[in-house]
């Protein structure tokens, strides 16, 4: 029994494991056939004889609770001490990188009551075998205040600290500038930090690549024996299944197979969970198959992760890669891929009409879907602008009469085939024949009519497997489908911008002929109706999806989104391969990650274009953005002068927007003529000159569902400085001097001083550590945010919707 240490198991952070963590926390993920990830942490605690353990869970911890039970398996069902699961009290604290002092404060009683003098804080998602007593011994010998445990260059979010010191931080969490122990080790001065280097195999499971890789690593004898040791065994919940059974056609090499399996097929280099059935002729390679899956005759799997109870039908081929494995969803039934017919409905699509990012997404997603063999149709309204530029090439394919309210309207449907995508344009004189697209008095009527027309048009088109709708403009389609003969057709609603929701008078429902509608308020909310009626929902990044569950981000729709939590996905947008510094014609000099020195010529070119003093050593901050509050301009205005004063820094801004910000920036530009240049108006200059020429790219957004600027900057090797929110958090990883990782710089709070601190931190590295800076550029340019990847995710989601 360990009288010196108690343990805090941090299961508060959510990793990007996609649909695998839809129903469970990372700690509850199955591993190596019969284990769950948290078994490794709990067994390490047990084998270190620690008997006082608190698990701090996040979100849906049912499966974790079920698995650990009373903790008996790890000798934690005790009279004194034992196992505690301490749930969040305040559901409005969004998850952070690791457990915050604030979250610990909620259960400070647990810490006060613990009789042991030292705390070990560790995660629930690490595969390793470690004796924490060794770490404590070193901690005490080195007289450290805090010991961080690392493996090679990986931070494991595992620390040893005295209870006394930890309590001090927790009790004063509201006045500290550090939120977590990670922050503390990085920033706190006068603290004796010790790094304990763990030598044996260790892997943190924070994405599907690491998840599959570490499972397959267990098949290597040299690695497996450092994890499954006889002297420090790994314990798991007791379950009963008969021995695995091999029939006459089984053929296996280098694979681990759990109890209860019935194998008549081939298995190569794979990890198979309990009670899996692999039938004759099936081939499973380089995969992790969780329990109760069925692989039917002649199916072929390579680099896949199948969640529990997945059924792979006869002759189905599933092919992933080690980096991007194919991941199924729990209970999914996967049939051979015989094509999906998808209809995208939106208010705009590039190249026909564009006011913002939505048009780019619809245009590029549809094109990439078609390229990957998906039968894709897009329907948008025929605005005057489209008629003016494309009118001559469009052909009328249908004419329809649409009843809306008391009236009958004549509608013409024009067709056009653009890069394998079938486009239909809905033409009606009363509703769409305007100069403007949005912001008209009757917007809600216009788009309600558009929705009605689309659903009526389904009568004339071959059936679709799925209708993918976008934002409030198309949100009434699911409820209209339910009220039509097409009831049962699946819909996916993607939320790009939750700020616009389509608030309208109740009478619209009657005009649309929807019966039995329960009115909640005096007004209807298009987006809310869509959220409640679509088959599945998605938004444009995994982090934003999590953030929307908090009122700060999700606003009035938080409740509806929470209700639909299990049908809600986050899929990151991607950028087109045409963003490429190797071929971009607008750059002065093309460059690649092998020739980053050439990037400096583009800096000179940028300075020249902006008529700034030309100096390749000057630190150039670039921005390409709409000038609106959301993008964080208040923060910049507060501290920009401080940052520029007496430093070799230039600031270049391209954008258009609120007059207030334009005026304020103009004033600063007048005061710092050699350091600040504005380029107002969206088309003023080619933004790629900034992407190519600047050193860093600033995006301090208050919120950012996905964001494309930072992805382009990464590809051009211009290091992003961003607030860690939404898609920014999913694409930019902060430079960590301890591990030499990351592709940019981030800060957490919407706070101008935090931002300034991070900008100046980057400036220091730029000025004094060119080697580190260059390695950051290379890592940035290696980041993969391609459209191909994002399209692939959408296709996987389409299949899930079709098959469940």
């Amino acid at each position: 029994m360990n009288k010196q240490m108690f343990a805090i198991v941090d299961a508060t952070f959510k990793e990007n494991l996609e649909q695998l963590t839809l129903h469970r926390m990372p700690g509850a993920l199955p591993f190596s056939g019969k284990y769950r990830l948290i078994d490794f942490t709990l067994s390490n605690l047990r084998n270190s004889r620690i008997i006082n353990v608190a698990i701090f869970p996040y979100g849906n911890y049912r499966s974790l609770q079920d698995h650990v039970g009373s903790g008996k398996r790890w000798d934690l069902d005790r009279r004194r001490d034992g196992l505690f699961i301490l749930p969040p009290k305040n559901l409005y604290i969004p998850p952070d990188e690791m457990i915050t002092f604030q979250r610990l404060f909620e259960h400070i009683e647990f810490l006060r009551r613990s009789t042991q003098d030292y705390a070990v804080i560790t995660g629930a998602n690490i595969v390793w075998n470690i004796d924490y007593n060794d770490c404590l011994e070193e901690h005490i010998n080195k007289n450290a205040d805090i010991t961080e445990i690392m493996y090679q260059q990986i931070r494991l979010k595992t620390f040893i600290i005295s209870k006394k010191l930890l309590l001090e931080y927790i009790e004063t969490y509201d006045s500290l500038e550090y939120k977590t122990l990670l922050d503390l080790v990085e920033k706190a001065p006068n603290l004796n930090v010790n790094i304990y280097k763990h030598k044996n195999y260790t892997r943190t499971i924070n994405d599907t690549f690491n998840y599959l890789k570490s499972n397959l690593d267990m098949l290597r004898f040299d690695i497996g024996m450092t994890i499954f040791r006889e002297d420090r065994p790994v314990y798991s919940k007791e379950k009963t299944a008969p021995p695995a059974k091999y029939l006459n056609h089984a053929s296996i090499d280098n694979s681990m197979i759990s109890s209860g399996c019935i194998v008549d097929g081939q298995i190569h280099n794979s990890m198979i969970g309990r009670d899996v059935i692999i039938k004759k002729g099936a081939i499973v390679e380089n995969s992790f198959i969780m329990s109760n899956c069925v692989i039917e005759e002649n199916a072929h799997l390579n680099y896949t992760i199948l969640d529990k109870q997945t059924v792979v039908k006869q002759n189905t081929v599933l092919e992933g890669t080690l980096r991007i494995p194919y991941v199924s969803q729990k209970e999914q039934i996967i049939s051979p891929f015989n094509g999906i017919r998808v209809l995208l409905v939106a208010s705009e699509s590039y190249p026909f009409i564009k006011t913002g990012g939505l048009a780019d997404v619809i245009g590029s997603l549809s094109r990439n879907l078609a390229r990957q063999g998906i039968d894709t149709t897009v329907i948008i309204p025929l605005y005057k602008k489209i008629r003016d530029s494309f009118g001559e090439s469009l052909k009328i394919e249908f004419t329809k009469t649409i009843i809306y309210g008391e009236k009958r309207y004549k509608v013409s449907i024009y067709g056009y085939l653009y890069k394998k995508v079938k486009y239909y344009f809905v033409d009606n004189f009363d509703f769409f024949d305007y100069e403007g697209i949005y912001g008209l008095e009757n917007d809600t009527d216009r788009f309600a009519f558009f929705n009605k027309t689309v659903v009526d048009l389904l009568d004339d088109l071959d059936p679709y497997d799925l209708i993918h709708i976008h934002d409030w403009h198309t949100s009434l389609i699911p409820i209209l489908i339910d009220n039509s003969s097409h009831k049962g057709v699946n819909t996916l609603l993607t939320i790009h911008n939750i700020d616009y929701q389509g608030i309208a008078k109740n009478e619209i429902i009657n005009k649309l002929g929807i019966k039995h509608f329960v009115f909640k308020e005096e007004h209807i909310n298009f987006l809310d109706i869509g959220i409640n009626t679509a088959t599945k929902l998605s938004t444009v990044s995994p982090t934003y999806k999590e953030e929307l569950k908090y009122e700060y981000y999700g606003k009035n729709l938080t409740h509806s989104l929470m209700r639909r939590e299990r049908d809600f996905y986050g899929i990151l947008n991607g950028i087109s391969s045409s963003f490429n510094p190797e071929t971009d014609k607008s750059l002065k000099v093309n460059y690649s990650k092998e020739t980053i020195a050439l990037k400096l010529d583009n800096k000179i070119y940028l300075q020249e274009k902006m008529s700034l003093p030309q100096n390749k050593n000057t630190f150039v901050i670039g921005m390409v953005s709409r000038l609106v509050e959301q993008k964080g301009f208040d923060l910049i205005l507060q501290v920009l002068e401080d940052i520029l004063r007496d430093r070799d820094i230039q600031f270049v801004l391209l954008g258009a927007g609120d007059e207030y910000y334009v005026n304020e920036f103009t004033k600063i530009a007048e005061r710092f003529p050699n350091q600040v240049k504005l380029n107002i108006g969206y088309d003023a200059a080619n933004p790629n000159i900034i992407y190519g020429g600047a050193d860093v790219f600033l995006m301090p957004s208050r919120f950012e569902p996905c964001g494309l600027g930072q992805m382009i900057a990464l590809r051009y090797g211009t290091l992003p400085i961003v607030r860690k929110t939404g898609g920014l958090g999913d694409t930019v990883f902060k430079y960590d001097p301890l591990t030499e990782k990351g592709n940019g710089f981030t800060f957490n709070n919407y706070d101008s001083h935090e931002m300034k601190h991070v900008i100046l931190g980057a400036y220091e590295i730029y000025k004094h550590n060119q080697l580190v800076w260059n390695s950051l550029i290379v890592r940035a340019m290696k980041s993969d945010n391609s459209l191909v990847k994002s399209t692939q995710k959408y296709i996987e989601l389409y299949k899930v919707i079709k098959e469940t």
């Binding site: 190596s32 007791e238 009963t240 008969p242 021995p243 091999y246 053929s251 090499d253 681990m256 759990s258």
Partner: protein, 376 residues
């Protein structure tokens, strides 16, 4: 604390006909089907029948069994009232010492039964292979208003090995003969009985005759007393694995006749067994594995045909294992050829050993040492 049913499980038998397999372990602790021990079947049946007041009467080499069963949590038998009690032989004031037979051992522990004041006592054996919902039998017992009900199964081979029952059209027992030379029917007693508690007391406390055994003494006495005795026709799979041959055959039934015990179709009626806490087995590069059962923690390089491997077995390169049963933690060196063998737990087989037999042979370390000496 009143209980309707108390189960008494007799696990005392040595099972001497199993030879070296039971040299150091009681028969109920003998390994079966890779992951199981014989005792799992009766305990799982009790668990699946929701009978949780269980006395386990031990005698021969009880240590392994005791430490295996513990509080019975594996079978969810660790309940607050009742649960599992181990009943060991004891010396009392009147000098009773060693249990003289099955009935005598129950007689010794009647006080255990009485504290629950049950309506019925279920007598079970710890070394049979079957899955049975005892409630079906008890319900018939109640319906028939019987004093005693004996569970029976249809014998397909050599009925003379068993106690044979003759039933009338109402399923009442007409006659009973232990190991008859000329059997009157093909219905054999499974050694599973339901007694009304009062009747059990009367029979066990009889002074006029020596009462040692259920089959030899109690049942004939009950028939003599013209008590109401019924037979219960059990239709499922049942094996009394008293000999090496029958133990081997019952094991192989798991592979050859999967419909008998249905161990792979187990959600309704699982056979529960203590988890070995081992990782899944690792097949490193064997390309030939067929018609076999393999348990957790095995490490396999060689070929396996029509065999059953318990947990933690090592099969090295170029080995061929055929028609054999390998118990837990057996290590087999390179280039061994094993056929028609039962290899007992913890045996170590050196490289290049050939163990090919015409009839099923039990191999343990002692056997291997002798073999080594002969070769020298």
């Amino acid at each position: 604390m009143k209980k309707q049913i108390v189960a008494m499980v007799l696990v005392g038998g040595r099972g001497s006909r199993l030879g070296n397999i039971t040299k150091q372990t009681a028969k109920p602790a003998v390994s079966f089907g890779g992951k199981y021990k014989l005792i799992d079947f009766v305990l799982s049946s009790l668990s699946n029948s929701s009978i949780s007041t269980v006395g386990i009467i031990t005698q021969y080499e009880p240590y392994e069994l005791l430490s295996y069963i513990e509080h019975g949590s594996t079978w969810d038998l660790d309940v607050n009232e009742g649960g599992i009690s181990f009943l060991t032989p004891y010396t009392s004031a009147n000098g009773e010492l060693w249990q003289k037979g099955t009935a005598h051992s129950v007689y010794q522990h009647l006080r255990f039964v009485d504290q629950y004041n049950p309506d019925f006592v279920l007598i079970l054996s710890g070394d049979h292979v079957y899955k049975m919902d005892y409630n079906l039998m008890i319900n018939e017992h109640i319906k028939n208003k019987a004093d005693i009900t004996i569970s029976t199964f249809k014998v397909h081979d050599n009925p003379s090995r068993y106690g044979i029952l003759e039933l009338n059209e109402l399923d009442q027992v007409v006659s009973f003969e232990e190991k008859p030379i000329a059997p009157k029917s093909d219905l054999a007693s499974m050694g599973i009985y339901v007694f009304n508690t009062k009747i059990l007391h009367q029979l066990l406390e009889t002074k006029e005759e020596k009462i040692y055994d259920f089959g030899n003494d109690i049942i004939p006495l009950a028939i003599k007393k013209e008590l109401s005795i019924f037979g219960y026709r059990f239709e499922g799979y049942f094996r009394d694995v008293g000999t090496v041959e029958s133990l081997y055959q019952a094991n192989m039934d798991l592979i050859d006749n999967p419909h008998y015990l249905k161990i792979h179709d187990y959600t309704d009626f699982p056979i529960l067994t203590k988890s070995s806490n081992l990782p899944p087995h690792h097949i490193v590069h064997s390309k030939k594995i067929n018609s076999s059962l393999i348990s957790d923690g095995c490490l396999i390089y060689g070929e396996i045909h029509h065999s059953i491997l318990s947990s933690g077995v090592l099969v090295s390169d170029q080995c061929i294992i055929k028609d054999s049963i390998i118990h837990a933690n057996v290590k087999i060196g390179k280039n061994c050829h094993i056929e028609n063998a039962i290899i007992v737990e913890d045996s170590v087989i050196l490289a290049n050993t050939v163990l090919q037999f015409d009839e099923i042979t039990v191999v343990d370390n002692e056997y291997l040492w002798k073999m080594g000496e002969q070769n020298e």
